[in-house]
């Protein structure tokens, strides 16, 4: 049974208010058997030095990615992960993590590829717990293994591959990387040179909205009016548009995907997880350098 929604008034403005919870809500639901809290971080050891009591850890690299193919775990892998995490198909999953919930949003997107119905983010990320005056614990979480069905991953609805991007030209593309990556001044964002590509720039016609514009200084999401002013006002996107978002490896764009999909109610938005590390190294695909989006080439189908 899904846990009750967090009735915080700011959330009620969003298209899908039930996808966000506050630290207070998490605290009130720590013993709720219908809720599993999951930490997902960039730093693979951060959970170990302190997490929300009762939270389990899901790591993007060691748990969500296939160890050989550049892809996510398959249905059997996801089933095993859910079962050892104590998550059933009807569990309310609350994700949180470091870096304003980048990796938590990425994990949420993967949960959605498997159609898990009720997945929420802690607004304000990992910092929100401490900011609410509560302590993290090093106490290991022991979950009773659950039973989870074998669900095939849906790679069509929320996920875009490079061929989908080529066929998408003429529809909006959203580049959420730093301005320097967008213009082609650098192939990676500051401090992350290892995730480079052979060419620099952006996918033709993609508009630039660095992911961080969606959050406040305290890592909470901006209000609906502020988000609308950016994505709909300034960038001219429309909730009826088909949108594809990308970054370098798909994690920051999961964050923006979450904003468009759940906070602003865009029905048809996909995340291109191959992102720049793939596009910037692909042979024969068009690229634009500089600060202007450039024209969309004819779609290739």
């Amino acid at each position: 049974m899904p846990a009750p929604a967090d009735a915080t008034s700011k959330f009620l403005e969003y298209a899908h208010p039930e996808v966000l919870v506050t630290a207070d809500w998490v605290a009130q639901n720590l013993d709720n058997p219908d809720v599993v809290v999951v930490e997902s971080d960039e730093d693979v050891l951060l959970y170990e030095i302190g997490h929300i009591p009762g939270a389990v850890k899901i790591d993007w690299h060691t748990d969500l990615n296939d160890t050989v193919t550049r892809d996510y775990v398959d249905g059997a892998g996801f089933k095993a992960l859910m079962e050892r995490s104590g998550i059933s198909r009807d569990t309310t999953v609350v994700l949180y993590g470091d870096k304003s919930n980048w990796w938590a949003a990425y994990a949420l997107w993967v949960f959605k590829l498997f159609g898990h119905a009720d997945v929420r983010l802690l607004d304000g990320a990992r910092e929100a717990w401490a900011a609410s005056g509560r302590a993290l614990t090093k106490e290991p979480t022991l979950k009773v293994p659950s039973s989870y069905p074998l669900v095939e991953r849906d790679d069509k609805t929320l996920r875009a591959f490079r061929d989908d991007v080529l066929a998408h030209f003429g529809n909006p593309l959203l580049d959420i990387r730093s301005p320097q990556e967008y213009s082609g001044e650098r192939t990676h964002m500051p401090d992350y040179p290892q995730e480079g590509a052979l060419r620099a720039g952006h996918i033709p016609s993609a508009v630039s909205v660095p992911w961080g514009r969606a959050v406040n200084e305290d890592q909470t999401f901006k209000s609906r009016a502020e988000l609308e002013a950016i994505y709909q006002g300034e960038k001219g996107l429309n909730p009826n548009d088909e949108v594809i978002a990308y970054c370098r490896i798909g994690e920051r764009s999961s964050h923006s995907w979450f904003v468009l999909k759940f906070l602003l109610g865009f029905d048809n938005v996909r995340n291109y997880d191959g992102s720049w590390t793939e596009w910037g190294s692909l042979v024969g695909v068009p690229i634009v350098r500089g600060e202007e989006p450039g024209n969309a080439p004819a779609p290739r189908r």
């Binding site: 960039e42 730093d43 693979v44 050891l45 951060l46 170990e48 030095i49 690299h61 060691t62 160890t67 470091d98 500051p190 401090d191 992350y192 040179p193 290892q194 995730e195």
Partner: protein
């Protein structure tokens, strides 16, 4: 008598290789917790430290060479345990060792300790950058 850089590097590698991914992470966490604090003479001198830009978390390092022995000092926040763990390993292997031995540490050391699978290739490369910077600072100081 402390062991040589190559002996220390082999010890670290064999410890990591022996464990499961979970055990490797636990060991890395121990290195993180045991990263030596800065000696007083350096703790007030952030200007001496060089940022390792390649790391995902802010980590700074500084190398001193005295009487042919290398001192390696790191500072990284508690909330960056993986980066601190990398620093802890390098401190264990390199600190207090002769210049020629420090310079002989393989650039591929991070890939040789079997940590890549546990922490991801993207994360491990931060350690390579630390080694590169340590060696460069050593060379500059003995030049």
């Amino acid at each position: 008598m402390t062991n040589s850089v190559s002996e220390a590097a082999e010890l670290v590698a064999s410890d990591f290789k022996a464990g499961s991914n979970r055990e490797k992470l636990e060991l890395l966490l121990e290195y993180s917790e045991n990263l030596p604090a800065l000696p007083e003479r350096y703790s007030e001198h952030p200007d001496l430290f060089e940022r390792v830009e390649e790391c995902q978390s802010p980590v700074f390092l500084f190398v001193e060479v005295e009487n042919g022995q290398v001192g390696v000092f790191f500072t990284a926040p508690e909330e960056a345990p993986t980066t601190r763990g990398f620093a802890g390993i390098l401190s264990e292997v390199l600190h207090g060792k002769p210049v020629n031995e420090v310079l002989s540490l393989s650039d591929d050391f991070p890939d040789q300790i079997g940590l890549t699978e546990a922490v991801s290739p993207l994360r491990i490369r931060g350690m390579r950058a630390m080694i590169y910077r340590i060696k460069r600072q050593v060379r500059e100081k003995v030049a």
